[in-house]
Symmetry: C3
Subunit: 255 residues, 3 copies
Amino acid sequence: MNFELKNLPERTGKPRKTGLAMVMDKGLSVREAEDLVSVADQYIDIIKLGFGTAYVTPHLENKLAVYRSAGIPVYFGGTLMECFIIRNQFEDYLRLMDKFKIDYVEVSDGSIDLPHEEKCKYINKLSKSKTVLSEVGSKDELKIIPPYKWIELMKTELEAGAWKVIAEAREGGNVGIYRGTGEVRSGLVEEILWQIPGENILWEAPAKAQQVWFIKLAGANVNLGNISPAEILPLETLRLGLRGDTLLHFLNPPA
Amino acid sequence: MNFELKNLPERTGKPRKTGLAMVMDKGLSVREAEDLVSVADQYIDIIKLGFGTAYVTPHLENKLAVYRSAGIPVYFGGTLMECFIIRNQFEDYLRLMDKFKIDYVEVSDGSIDLPHEEKCKYINKLSKSKTVLSEVGSKDELKIIPPYKWIELMKTELEAGAWKVIAEAREGGNVGIYRGTGEVRSGLVEEILWQIPGENILWEAPAKAQQVWFIKLAGANVNLGNISPAEILPLETLRLGLRGDTLLHFLNPPA
Amino acid sequence: MNFELKNLPERTGKPRKTGLAMVMDKGLSVREAEDLVSVADQYIDIIKLGFGTAYVTPHLENKLAVYRSAGIPVYFGGTLMECFIIRNQFEDYLRLMDKFKIDYVEVSDGSIDLPHEEKCKYINKLSKSKTVLSEVGSKDELKIIPPYKWIELMKTELEAGAWKVIAEAREGGNVGIYRGTGEVRSGLVEEILWQIPGENILWEAPAKAQQVWFIKLAGANVNLGNISPAEILPLETLRLGLRGDTLLHFLNPPA
């Protein structure tokens, strides 16, 4: 840090168990990836190559090397695995991850119909050799999942071997745990947190208002995902109470 | 491509006749332009220097050289030519294009009143030595053009020598073929496509929902424009069904 | 400029007294800062390191060196000083500015309660050795300040030694001089301008529609702030009438 300020909220450091930030890279160049780690390597815990961008990104090996040398694990968007599963190409997906030395994997069913038992089998199988993030929630705004079901799905997926469960929001932050307007379904989130330890959940929260809401609810070290590269430093200031939105929230009046 | 996936939609390659993407550069630095072509040279068919940015951009020659060496043609935003026309400086505009070795030109009347016959004369004259894109639609949200008129204007401009007609949307995607909310005027688009071959039209579609709408209507190889540099790889995944929005749309169930 | 166009509005050059642009840097890398000045050093008059990002930005000295060598003064977001004041660490803030050779300072009370007399004392004290920008307006959308009060606050702060007063809008452009929708509180702005010379005010105007509104009201050389790095060249085209929004506004019909 560049200077001293009293009474800042305690913030976890890397390697973090809580207070994780997952950034979505949806097509950075190698040099842009270098720029990102040059300012944010201490604030980014995991990077997702959004949806199927890994397929169309040139110089992918070089970009992965940049993230690897910064000590940041990378995984492919869950949609990519769905693309392989629905084509009966799961074995190819395993080879693909081996080829690119990918140790983290997202298992989701946001775009395809996948019986939950089968999803849990994938989670379980992959968890033997990878760190698994499983995602709950549909990308289809019309598929409303009631709270008890969210909880049941999350519990089962954690039991199946998921390291974290991701609460779906898309890049737009307008489905899953959010209404179409981007507003948090606060009752849903609170019910989930009553049943599942927050440290096991990674909340997708692309919009600032969403990040603020979660930080106020669950503290500086809430796990947040789908952060855009340009917003990772601003997010860090929200966590530390160094931005108007959370300045007073965190402040212990000096003695 | 970085790996194999079965049953992807067929995608045209460069040099493309259909499935074009036009990117709007509204002020990239030389190095940012290098970054862009390093990830997207195979997905970008044309670059527009948005509105009058060519006037205020330093190191313009160097940036043009980056795009030229990547084999991507560049043209100045139509608004710039309107700025010259309304000042009776059209001859200066010709010299300007010569000076910067610009072979593509947009002829538009989105911001000035230009009798259609005169617009077509410009198209015709320029088409002798340049590749002309002519734009139909006003930037003024209050100027509603009825469908039969869109069709008539487009037809006449193609006959006058335009290589493609561009359907106006602005950078904001909220006029022309879209409502103020960004929603597609779907009846208008369908009427246009009933009369004019889609391959002759470049649809401005800056927002993801607009891109998805056109891809679902007209396929992976629809011509789309006003794509922001950061969205060109995500657009490619939409075209290929590698993102939730189009994953099922394109899928042929494996045999 | 890359070519000649007749009848453009007169635009001030650096060092500017009016027509200032303040850019908000909320976490650029050193190389991204280099990119920014390579295209926009002539159009950026001041750079603000947004809110508390100065605390969490690595290689801060190097980034400041980039801006310094481009001749662009930098200041820390007013929220950062508020963080120091509310902790009784104002002396530390002075040392911090000395350490990083920061000669401009923003004094604000957007997030904390600060008696106005005390705020003016800070302005006065700091104005002895720094160039002071003081900000009027709350970041809290519920705190509506009536026009007469805006005017009184601005006048007093200018008298206390502020070089410019900033009219608050946040990064989102949705509080202070704007409604929650981003629409300008036009009556408020006009009342302010009736009492305070426009050259003493820096209007935060992050959204294009807001920039257009102020340019149409007060001309090409209105002072505007909270411009994002990617929007500084587009803003310059708005000031010059080289974009549809202001093309006709500025045009003197050729003789």
